[in-house]
């Protein structure tokens, strides 16, 4: 009798568990959340700048001849008979102007490739703020960007939308922050270097995907703000051409105030002569943009940033 009771209890519990596992995520009624399209506020002056980038009309001006043409055609050149193989020419001496001052001899410069050893005083100095232990770093294999994955490959618990809404309610009660608004609208960098900024403009596909909330739980506004800010902090040396050499993925963590904990860690970088420089530019960008305190969602978080100038450099 008792064994039967025990068996019955176990079987029912197992069925219950199986049911819970199997039907824990029932399909919800599909609700099409029409994401607000990302709209860029364009100042009329930017339009005029774009127009200014176009080349001026060419004017017809008398064309001077090239130097070499002049040189050759000055001579007139009578037809010459082809000569047999030449004998070694006789060296001719012309007295070049003797140098007034002795030429610096490059060989006298001794270049020591070793870095200057750090002075003792440097070692005595405390290291720049020891970073608190960050979360265990994901393996590099996990650090791969996920461009191949279709958007539907990142399922989210169905409960999330409701929770998000619940979480966002208190945010709506926030005081209207005019400074933050002006920061969002601040285009000073673009205004100072309109042509160069124009180079980097565009509508990156992956960035667009981020902007509608894929892969992260940031809102489109938060994501867009982050992309915009980091794009302004990321300096790529002018003349850089091979985008492969500048693709770097870094990870970093923020504390409860939005400050970066320690330094960013590169988890993916190209193997090449520019590797160190590429990593430096990206780490500098992340550090220059710190703190990440504009939105609460940035605080106490772990970030992975995939820097890829392909669209910018390839036009």
């Amino acid at each position: 009798m008792r064994w039967s009771l025990i068996a019955s209890t176990l079987v029912h519990t197992a069925i219950l568990l199986a049911g819970v596992i199997s039907f824990s995520s029932p399909h919800e009624y599909e609700t099409n959340f029409d994401e607000a399209p990302v709209v860029d506020l364009v100042d009329p002056s930017e339009l005029s700048q774009a127009v200014a980038l176009a080349k001026d009309g060419e004017e017809d001006i008398a064309e001077p001849k090239t130097r070499e043409q002049k040189a050759v055609r000055l001579e007139g050149g009578k037809p010459q008979e082809e000569q047999p193989p030449q004998q070694p020419p006789e060296p001719q001496q012309e007295e070049p102007t003797p140098p007034k001052e002795p030429e610096p001899k490059p060989v006298e410069v001794e270049k020591e490739p070793e870095p200057v050893p750090e002075p003792q005083e440097v070692k005595k100095e405390p290291e720049p703020e020891p970073a608190p232990e960050p979360e265990p770093e994901p393996k590099p294999a996990e650090a791969k960007p996920q461009p191949e994955k279709p958007k539907v490959a990142a399922p989210k618990p169905r409960t999330k939308p409701k929770k998000k809404l619940a979480k966002k309610k208190p945010k709506k009660k926030r005081k209207f922050d005019t400074e933050a608004l002006s920061a969002l609208l601040d285009k000073s960098i673009d205004e100072t270097t309109p042509q160069k900024a124009a180079e980097g403009r565009g509508t990156p596909r992956k960035a667009e995907r981020n902007a509608i909330g894929d892969q992260t739980e940031l809102s489109a506004t938060e994501t867009d703000w982050l992309i915009d800010k980091l794009s302004r902090c990321w300096r790529i040396p002018g003349g850089a051409q091979d985008p492969e050499q500048w693709r770097v993925t870094v990870e970093f963590q923020t504390d409860s105030t939005g400050q970066i904990i320690g330094n960013p860690v590169s988890v993916k970088a190209p193997n090449g002569p520019t590797r160190a420089t590429a990593i430096d530019t990206v780490e500098r960008a992340v550090l220059a943009c710190s703190p990440y305190d504009r939105f609460e969602a940035f605080k106490g978080r772990k970030f992975r940033m995939n820097f890829d100038p392909s669209i910018m450099l390839n036009g």
């Binding site: 981020n210 300096r235 040396p237």
Partner: protein, 444 residues
């Protein structure tokens, strides 16, 4: 056989564990704070702000060398040296680490500190460190010892080290430029070959101005120059040793020779020879003094330039009716036209990196300097003007120098540099009119 009684305590624990597990599945989980992953696909190409305080130590050489570095980096267009008046920290001790916070306040991203001392033997010792202000770490540091006379060169070497560490590209500051210095009225110009540092300092004339000289080109070792001169009454190609001043005729062929350039290994000179009314491209082996004809057309083939690996040659030809750019194998085979845009193309020069070819383009009365890939694709115009001509590459293949001539009786030619983006155009001050520049390789 005795019937075994069940262990009720174990059963209770088992049931409790199952219930807890089931509750765990059923309870709505608080979502984990997911990793935020963002793709950044655009950045800025504006100059990096750097701070270059006067090097400590010797009161004359210290500020002078840091000044050379500052000017070099500014002219590159990739760096923006911040005004010393904005510095909060005054560097007085080279051995002490800088106060990074002070440099971050003024928006410096890199800091170059240095010390210059005159040693007991009279030689100059210069040390420098490049700091990453944001990451608060030293990126590189070197020391150089040389005679005081070479103080400018120390500035160039440090500039190269900084440039390479911050851009990933080799620097080009420790280089020289040979060009044609022009003086006198436009109708009666005196032209001399002159050599100078790439920043316009340390000028030295190489010829006396008695003959018209054109198109000087460096040998791969920078020790020799090949150029064209009218000293024998007709254009002939010569070699000139920069150190000894010794000059020799490349070929005693009586026909006109012009537009010379060294092969990458320095063993040959490639040039045009005019025979029978046509100009074709020949090479001259400098050891055996034998010539080899590469093109044979009833046209003007000129301005040859080797690819960096020496396997191909780019040149201009009007064989199709107007000046266009052609590429051929270095033995003269597989000649093919690569320029098909509007206008006339001339003076092609292969980049030291091999990725593009610079050219002069004449279109509707304007001269343009541009680049295209070796297959003719990707044409980009970098600069234009009334008369731009004669592009020459910096050894890192990222900057071009050329000359621009202004109109009128009072006009003349000046040297300019422009980088591959086309945005950073700078005049190179020479003090006189100047044309036909040729950039040296990195000084060995």
């Amino acid at each position: 056989m005795k019937k075994q009684r069940p262990n009720w305590t174990a059963v209770r624990y088992l049931a409790l564990a199952l219930i807890v597990a089931a509750a765990g599945f059923l309870a709505p989980a608080e979502p984990a704070r997911a990793l935020i992953e963002i793709d950044i696909t655009k950045g800025q190409v504006d100059p990096m702000p750097v701070a270059i305080p006067a090097f400590v130590g010797d009161p004359k050489f210290g500020p002078d060398i840091s000044g050379v570095i500052s000017n070099n980096l500014r002219r590159s267009g990739l760096f923006n040296p911040l005004p010393p008046a904005s510095y909060i920290e005054q560097i007085t001790d080279f051995s002490a680490p800088p106060r990074f916070g002070d440099w971050r306040i003024i928006k410096a991203q890199a800091l170059i500190t240095g010390r210059v001392t005159v040693q007991a033997d009279g030689r100059l010792k210069a040390e420098f460190r490049l700091w990453d202000v944001l990451a608060q770490k030293q990126l590189t540091g070197f020391q150089f010892v040389t005679t005081p006379r070479n103080w400018r060169r120390i500035g160039h070497l440090i500039s190269d080290a900084v440039y390479q560490r911050l851009t990933g590209e080799k620097g080009y500051f420790d280089t020289r430029v040979v060009y044609v210095e022009e003086t006198g009225p436009k109708s009666k110009r005196i032209k001399k070959l002159t050599i100078m540092d790439q920043d316009g300092f340390n000028k030295r004339t190489l010829t006396n101005g008695g003959d018209l000289v054109l198109t000087p080109r460096f040998s791969p070792t920078s020790q020799e120059i090949t150029y064209m001169s009218y000293s024998s009454g007709r254009p002939r190609v010569y070699l000139l040793n920069i150190e000894t001043g010794q000059r020799e005729l490349v070929s005693n062929d009586p026909s006109m020779s012009f537009s010379p350039r060294f092969s990458p290994d320095g063993q040959r000179v490639i040039m045009s020879l005019q025979r029978g009314g046509n100009s074709n491209i020949f090479t001259m082996d400098l050891r055996t003094r034998t010539t080899r004809q590469l093109t044979k057309t009833a046209a003007i083939d000129t301005a040859p330039s080797y690819s960096p690996d020496g396997r191909q040659v780019v040149f201009e030809s009007d064989r199709a009716g107007s000046q266009q750019i052609y590429v051929m194998n270095s033995d003269g085979t597989n000649q093919r036209r690569i320029s098909f845009g509007q206008g006339r193309y001339s003076t092609p020069v292969w980049s030291p990196r091999g990725d593009v070819i610079a050219f002069t383009k004449l279109l509707k009365g304007r001269f343009l300097i541009g680049v295209m890939r070796p297959d003719g694709s990707g044409e980009r115009i970098l600069t234009e003007g009334y008369h731009n001509e004669g592009p020459t590459w910096a050894p890192n293949g990222r900057v071009l120098m050329f000359f621009r001539e202004t109109r009128g009786e009072q006009g003349g030619a000046k040297l300019y540099s422009v980088d591959l983006t086309g945005y950073n155009e700078q005049e190179i001050k020479t003090g006189t009119w100047a044309s036909d520049p040729a950039w040296s390789p990195l000084i060995q």
